[in-house]
Amino acid sequence: MKRHLLSATDLDRESATLVLDTAEEMARLGERSIKKLPTLRGRTVVNLFYEDSTRTRTSFELAAKRLSADVINFSAKGSSVSKGESLKDTALTLEAMGADAVVCRHSGSGAPHRLAQWVKGSVVNAGDGTHEHPTQALLDAFTMRRRLGRIEGLRVTIVGDILHSRVARSNVLLLDILGAHPTVVAPPTLLPVGIEAWPTEVSYDIDAVLPKSDVVMMLRVQNERMTASYFPNVREYSRRYGLDARRVAALPDDAIVMHPGPMNRGVEIAAEVADSARSTIVEQVANGVSVRMAVLYLLLGGSEPAIGSPAAGSTEGERP
């Protein structure tokens, strides 16, 4: 593992597989009644969130706590200083406090890269602007592997606002690294100029792609995209790109439906699809904690086994 996890491309096949294997161990721990490990005792993990994201922050917080790390939630939103000043100054403050890892969510693409230049600890990108969200891609890959038994060769269709999606960027990159075959589907307005350089197929036609999909991942579409004329209105978007029961019927029998949340039920995904047996949406949340435990462990814990003997684990874990 590199020192930081800023982009899915910081991982190669070997290290990404190591994260997934480690997450598997972590997930088994989550099935125990006592879920805590002593691995990161005495280490400090800072959640530095410049954007509201209760889901992601909570997931990282739980992951760090299950590894017995000290967790500080540093919400920089609403700070009176300019964003720029607070990023540098906050970085120096965290440095002075001895943060071992900084988990950063920021509305500006590349902000975690800048942070990594100013702090000695590890930086984990928890979503930066319209750039990347590598732990989301890892938890998605983990979910696919658990459901379908493999990643290599899977045909993964990602549908929605690819242009603005950090989830899509990280997923396309990681799926390619892991030997899967991603296809992105969107109206042309929501695909970036320059996408031809991405390691993915591109389609405007969801119905043509679904029969050839082992995984279909639906992305949230925000209302503000409509006001900026990326598409005429939500109804037309839903008709052309939404995943409803009729479209699900075109999927291969064992194909799964994913969504990184939060969902717009009735827009990009019908409620009956979100709640169906194919849906992995709730698992993704649980898997997020396991994957983030694995990432923090591998960045901070070094080469020791993640889980010692069960006895040691439970002894340490029983502290309140």
């Binding site: 300019s82 964003k83 720029g84 693409s109 800048r114 319209t130 960027r169 100029v193």
Partner: protein, 429 residues
């Protein structure tokens, strides 16, 4: 006033001669002139003498952002870069949109004494793009404004642009357009293409520049006015300018040093040192710009020297300010990209960095031939003195140079402003 004898220099890179400066004017040129009462500057037969460089596009930041640059610090940097005149852009606080502000900037320049400061007047009140500023008053002021620009913002309203182009004909003015369609570049952070798609930074498409340039060329032709296009950055823009010139339209264009050498790939560092407007483009664009500068499609190199304080750059990319400094490195970059590559000789450099710029800006005393009777605005360059750019050694108050650590092949060793040295041996005189 001290008279000078410049010994053994090569005007425009030609034959070695001595140049005598008396009373601020070139008095005598010839081999082995007698010393007389002059102070002597020894060129040693290697120095190239050029007419003092003229920058059409400088941000001196005063009044308003004296933490970034002042007229004093900016013009000293200019002198060190070989400039004897700079055009100070209007986007100050307050905006240079009335005679009072341009006269203030002009006076600050004269008092500092490092080089002539030709203030640029805003086209519209407050750079607001709605109402014409008092262009005539600025033209008639002591600052004698001839170049008008809303630089940093585009005069995007076609009617307003037409009126401005027409109006300045009365005093031989020129509209220098920052060509950027505002709607096509909302939130834009870098060139739109493969790299922006990967980095997740909002794209600044080439068409947003090219569409405005095409429109403005047509407007200028229609009303018979003079148009200058600031900082061309794309191959497509070059094609449009080339076509406009082929039709005989009175259109000129500039390119910055950074667009001659840096490319969009640098954005992958997320280091806002490389964030600039217009953005760094592709290697193919760089190549087209070099070709266009060589063949004269692009008339001048203009620095777009844009100083910013550290805190406006030491931040994340999207929050950071656009712009990079350039006065002290422009000549070196041109030497690297144009002279060392055989695309321009020193006479060509003199044209693109002095003569053409003075002509566009209507500066009578600058960009003149190196000839007896001409004002002694001169720059001496050592074409073989490679140097490494060191942030701490630059004179600009701001340190946002993209060239720190870069070796440049040539350096300015002396600058004379009307016969008075502002720089000697590469240091402020």
């Amino acid at each position: 006033m001290t008279d000078w004898l410049l010994r053994q220099v090569r005007p425009l890179g030609g034959d070695v001669v001595d140049i005598r400066i008396v009373g601020g004017v070139i008095a005598e040129i010839g081999p082995s002139l007698p010393e007389g009462d002059c102070s002597v500057y020894e060129g040693g037969s290697s120095l190239v003498a050029l007419p003092g460089l003229v920058d059409l596009h400088t941000h001196l930041r005063e009044p308003g952002r004296e933490d970034a640059e002042t007229v004093e610090t900016g013009t000293r940097a200019a002198a060190l870069g070989g400039y004897t005149a700079v055009h100070a852009m209007a986007n100050t606080t307050p905006v240079a949109d009335v005679a009072g502000v341009v006269e203030q900037v002009w006076r600050l320049g004269r008092d500092a004494g490092w080089c002539d400061v030709a203030p640029v007047g805003a086209v519209t009140v407050g750079l607001g793009g709605e109402h014409l500023a008092e262009l005539g008053a600025m033209a008639e002021s002591i600052a004698r404004v001839r170049v008008f620009s809303d630089d940093g913002k585009c005069v995007s309203d076609p009617v307003l642009m037409r009126r401005a182009l027409e109006y300045v004909k009365a005093f031989d003015g020129v509209i220098a357009q920052h060509a950027q369609d505002p709607r096509l570049t909302e939130g834009a952070q870098m060139n739109e293409g493969v790299v922006s798609a990967r980095l997740g930074l909002a794209g600044w498409p080439a068409v947003a520049e090219e569409a405005i340039i095409a429109r403005d060329c047509l407007l200028a032709a229609h009303v018979g006015s003079r148009l200058h296009v600031c900082h061309l950055s794309t191959a497509g823009s070059v094609e449009i300018i080339r076509a406009a010139k082929a039709k005989g339209w009175d259109v000129t264009a500039e390119v910055t040093p950074h667009h001659l050498v840096l490319t969009e790939d640098l954005a992958a560092t997320y280091d806002p040192t490389y964030k600039v407007n217009p953005p760094l483009r592709t290697a193919a664009d760089v190549e087209a710009l070099r070709d266009a500068l060589a063949d004269g499609t692009i008339d001048v190199v203009a620095t777009d020297h844009a100083p910013h304080p550290v805190e406006d750059k030491e931040t994340d990319w999207t929050a950071a300010a656009f712009g990079m400094t350039g006065l002290e490195t422009a000549l070196g970059i041109v030497a690297e990209t144009m002279v060392a590559t055989g695309r321009l000789d020193w006479a060509g450099v003199a044209d693109r960095m002095s003569i053409a710029a003075a002509r566009i800006g209507r500066l009578a005393d600058h960009g003149r031939p190196i000839a007896v009777g001409e004002p002694a605005n001169l720059t001496l360059i050592d074409p073989d003195a490679a140097w490494t750019v060191d942030r701490a050694q630059l004179a600009s108050r701001s340190t946002n140079t993209p060239y720190a650590g870069r070796s440049l092949p040539a350096r300015v060793v002396a600058t004379f402003l009307r016969g008075r040295p502002t720089v000697l041996d590469g240091k402020p005189a």
